[in-house]
Each structure stands twice: as structure tokens, then as C-alpha cells.
């Protein structure tokens, strides 16, 4: 869980307030917020006194992202982190819309580690699927012409066969 830190703690650490698109406020340590390259740049140029709006990211997503950033700013042993990452991904990938938005937000906030983690999980999820299954999953309209599709299917026939 993203820690929403009390005022007493806030005085000890350098704290920064982030505001999501639906006006939810999150108070986190500066080193946690720094995990995002974009927020780091904002803090560098505008300081941390006033709240930083994260207008493109909704509260539930931001909460999840900050949870990740906080865990990853502690510098724990690699095995612990890997285990934690796996559990984090298992939970997130259950809801595809949430998972997609999580990736989009981490991409937007420039948290490369998290983008990597999600993309690898995503790739594993899609790898064995057929094009039709992917289209259904993401509601993609097949706008290729019959000829184009046939050309791809015949030229790269090997890609469509099971190994």
C-alpha cells in the first residue's frame, strides 16, 4: 500500500504531495517520487513546496504506482524484490484495463523499471495468442485488406505454426 504519511513524519523527511487527475492527494517521500523521471524533473525545477498535479493519472493507478516506487526505493535484497514484483504483477494483470492503464501511466511518468516489468508480463501474456485472440482482447478492428492479410499469412506461414 502507498503510505500516506502523517504530519509528524512529514517533518522528518522531505515530503512531496502528488495530486491525481481525480484530485486524490498522495504525500510521499521525495526519494519515492524521484523514481519517476518526469516528477523528478518537475521537482527539480519547481521545488517540492506546492503540490504537484499528475493530471493524466487517476487516483487508483497513481496509488498502485507509488506503492511500487516506495518498495523500490528501499534497496532491499534482489530476491525479495523479485518475489514482491511477481506478486505485484499477479495482482495487477487480473484486470486488463487497469493493467493497461498502469503501463500507460508508468510510461508517461517515465518509470523505466516498471515499464519493463509490465511489458515483459504483457509480452508473456500475448506471446502464444493468435492474432484473432489479440484483436478480441483489445477490441481491435481488423482493417487490413484481404490481400494484405493473405500475403502475410502465406509469406510468414512458419510464424503461424506451432513449434
Amino acid at each position: 500500500m502507498a503510505t500516506i504519511i502523517t504530519k509528524e513524519q512529514q517533518e522528518k523527511e522531505k515530503m512531496v504531495t502528488l495530486v491525481s487527475s481525480d484530485s486524490e492527494k498522495f504525500v510521499v517521500e521525495q526519494k519515492v517520487a524521484e523514481k519517476s523521471h518526469v516528477i523528478k524533473m518537475v521537482m527539480n525545477c519547481c521545488g517540492i513546496e506546492s503540490p504537484i498535479p499528475v493530471r493524466r493519472v487517476k487516483g487508483d493507478i497513481l496509488k498502485s504506482i507509488l506503492e511500487y516506487c516506495e518498495k523500490h526505493s528501499k534497496g532491499e535484497a534482489q530476491e525479495v524484490m523479485e518475489k514482491w514484483d511477481k506478486e505485484y504483477m499477479d495482482k495487477a494483470e487480473k484486470d486488463l484495463v487497469f493493467f493497461h492503464d498502469l503501463m500507460l501511466a508508468s510510461h508517461f511518468l517515465h518509470i523505466q523499471e516498471l515499464v519493463d516489468l509490465i511489458a515483459v508480463t504483457f509480452a508473456g501474456m500475448l506471446k502464444m495468442k493468435s492474432p484473432e485472440e489479440i484483436r478480441q482482447k483489445f477490441n481491435i478492428n481488423n482493417d487490413l485488406t484481404k490481400e494484405q492479410e493473405e500475403h502475410i499469412m502465406t509469406t510468414f506461414g512458419w510464424a503461424f505454426q506451432p513449434i
Binding site: C45, V97, H100, L104, L126, I134, L144
Partner: protein, 369 residues
């Protein structure tokens, strides 16, 4: 400051859980970069957007640098007879090749009589007797100048890469047709559906004469080497004299290059080696005996494995589904039996690659761009 993003963030409202995801292009790219090549080819036919992302040259580059290993390129090109497009058939699907397309060869300006390949490059022969080396990736061509008293018809060919993008092109000619009588045993010759003997061949019929010449064995083979760096043919005659008769396999004229060596399979199942570096004529070429009695083998072919070792593949004459593979040992004389039974499918692909075109490539496609 925050950057304006091109793509709108698609966020769901908690109430409408069932709203389908509309996947963002940046996200698609990030995911594709982490997928194996096979999936990428497969996903080309999802939609125009996915196709656009995958065929963008930027993506191929990003994919290559992202995956950090130079792709090992094991497979064969086949030329489609219809439109001269090169189609790549990888032997292992999980290999990462950044080549996401077939390669148009654009040979419309030439009248091609044959295409052979060696070491990732193609040798084009035109009907008017010109020869050129062509890089199928960049489309660049290198014209080989005509050599004095050069017979148009060579019996084998091979290509060796040199420094600074230069090549050495080796042509092998059978010198004397000492054993012309054996020619007719090698293949059934027929004319108007009747078997013919050598005596019946009309002297004027060029192609029959040619065919006979082709199938004759010889003890003397001349090598002519064109070096693109000096832009000239070798001055000294390089003739190899063998203790026994040799005949190149007409289906496998293109040599298999490994390091400084070129290997050809002969119709008797032996392997002829030509070493580019050895200057003395006596040891420049050598014959390596077949690993097993030729009569028990069928569909013999040689190719280079990924780790630069010559492999000798054949099928058992009796048990057709058993494929046998030998590996050439470092003494360049003896063979080690590697393993039995490759699936029939893959073996056909191998044969197809060597027979029909012709191109077994071990070089990376990006290495030549």
C-alpha cells in the same frame, strides 16, 4: 515540465468495468520489443496500426538494440519464381532476426539464367554471360569483369568475405573430361522419352554435350579466383590434381564457406575443400572421404552449423525417415556422428534451401546493411 503526450490516456471509470481496452500505440511498441520474433511476424496481421509499427525501420533497429544480441541467422532464403522476392525460412522460430520483411530483389532489368548463393551473397548469371555478386539486403551489385579465355560454364562456385567489404569469388572448372563414359550412368538421359546413349548424342546439340560434360568426372580441377579488392582475376593458374575422379553435384554448385575454407559435396559423397589462405597448390585443395558408404545414403547435403562446423546430412536409403548428421572434426579428415532423426519437415526445408536456391546464410542480415 510535463510533456504533452500524443496519445490520450484511456482510463476506465470504475462503474464500467466491461469497457474494452483500447491499446495505446506506445504500449504496443513496448510490448512488441519484448516478444520473440515469431510472435512479431504473426502479429503483423492484427491490424494496419500493428503492421505499421512492426514494418517501421525504426522498430527493426530498436528491436535489435533492445535484444542486445546480434541475431543468429540460421535459415535459408528461397527466391519466389513469380516476383523475384526473397523469402526467408528460419530453421528455428525462436531466433531473433530483425528482418521483418521479404526482400525484393528487383531483377527486372536483367535477364537471369541462374542465381546461386554463398556466404549470404548471391551470384547472378545473366543470359548474356555476365556475372555479378549481389547483396540481397542492400541490393548493391558488383560486376565481375570477364576473364580471358573464360568458359561461361563453371562447375562450382563459392564466395569468401574479406576485410573492408571485399569478396573473393572462387569458380571451379573441370579441366579434362577423362571419364566421359561414366557420364551417362549418373543420370537417366532421355530424348523423346527414349533412353539415349552417348553415341546417339548429336554433336550439334549443345545442351546434351554440356550435360555430358557436367556429369563427367575428372581428376584435374582448375580454380579461378576473382578478388574484388584488386579488381582482378588470379594471374597464376591454380590446378588441383586428385588421385581419384571427382565430380561436383550439379544441384549443389554453391560452396559452403566456413572461415577460409570452401566446401563442396561431390556426386560420390566426398567433400572437396578449397583453402583460400594456403598458397601452395599441392595442399590448397583436399578431398575428405564420405563418412559412410554412399550407397546407404540418400539426399546428401552439407551445411554450416551456427558454430562454424561443417555438417554432413543425409537420409538413410532404407529407413527414409531417419536423417543422419555428421560433424567434421578439426583434423579436417574424420567425421563424428552427431545425432539421428531430425524431423522430416525440417530436413526438407534444408534440402530446399540448398537445392532450389540456393541460399544458406549464416551471416546476420544487419551485418550487411
Amino acid at each position: 515540465m510535463k510533456k504533452k503526450k500524443k496519445h490520450a490516456l484511456i482510463s476506465k471509470k470504475p462503474a464500467e468495468k466491461k469497457k474494452p481496452v483500447i491499446i495505446n500505440e506506445d504500449i504496443v511498441t513496448e510490448i512488441l520489443l519484448r516478444l520473440p520474433t515469431k510472435s512479431i511476424f504473426k502479429f503483423k496481421c492484427i491490424s494496419k496500426t500493428w503492421l505499421k509499427i512492426i514494418t517501421d525501420p525504426w522498430f527493426a533497429n530498436a528491436y535489435k538494440s533492445f535484444n542486445a544480441v546480434l541475431p543468429v541467422f540460421a535459415g535459408c532464403f528461397c527466391v519466389s519464381p513469380k516476383n523475384h522476392e526473397l523469402i526467408f525460412h528460419p530453421l528455428k522460430h525462436c531466433l531473433e532476426s530483425p528482418s521483418m520483411n521479404t526482400l525484393p530483389l528487383n531483377l527486372q532489368d536483367l535477364s537471369i539464367s541462374s542465381i546461386l548463393s554463398s556466404n549470404g551473397l548471391l551470384l547472378l548469371c545473366t543470359t548474356d554471360g555476365r556475372k555479378m555478386v549481389c547483396n540481397p539486403v542492400t541490393g548493391r551489385r558488383l560486376m565481375i569483369p570477364k576473364m580471358k579465355d573464360n568458359t561461361e560454364w563453371y562447375h562450382a562456385f563459392g564466395l569468401i568475405h574479406e576485410k573492408d567489404n571485399h569478396v573473393k569469388v572462387v569458380f571451379a572448372y573441370k579441366l579434362a573430361t577423362d571419364d566421359s563414359q561414366t557420364a551417362l550412368f549418373l543420370s537417366d538421359l532421355s530424348l523423346d522419352n527414349k533412353p539415349v546413349t552417348r553415341k546417339e548424342l548429336e554433336p550439334g546439340k549443345d545442351w546434351l554435350e554440356m550435360l555430358t560434360k557436367w556429369q563427367c568426372r575428372t581428376k584435374n580441377i582448375e580454380f579461378r579466383v576473382y578478388c574484388s579488392k584488386k579488381n582482378e582475376w588470379n594471374q597464376k593458374r591454380l590446378v588441383s590434381k586428385f588421385p581419384c575422379y571427382v565430380c561436383f553435384d550439379p544441384d549443389q554448385m554453391a560452396g559452403v564457406p566456413i572461415g577460409d575454407n570452401l566446401y563442396w559435396i561431390t556426386v560420390d559423397g566426398e567433400v572437396l575443400v578449397y583453402n583460400n589462405m594456403i598458397k601452395s597448390e599441392a595442399s590448397m585443395t583436399e578431398l575428405i572421404g564420405a563418412p559412410a558408404a554412399i550407397k546407404t545414403l540418400d539426399a546428401i547435403t552439407i551445411y554450416c552449423s551456427g558454430n562454424e562446423i561443417l555438417l554432413y546430412c543425409a537420409r538413410d536409403v532404407i529407413m527414409k525417415n531417419v536423417v543422419i548428421i555428421w560433424e567434421l572434426m578439426s583434423d579436417q579428415k574424420s567425421w563424428a556422428l552427431l545425432r539421428f532423426s531430425v524431423s522430416e519437415n525440417k530436413f526438407h526445408l534444408l534440402r530446399q534451401g540448398v537445392d532450389q536456391l540456393r541460399c544458406m546464410s549464416k551471416s546476420s542480415i544487419t551485418g550487411t546493411t
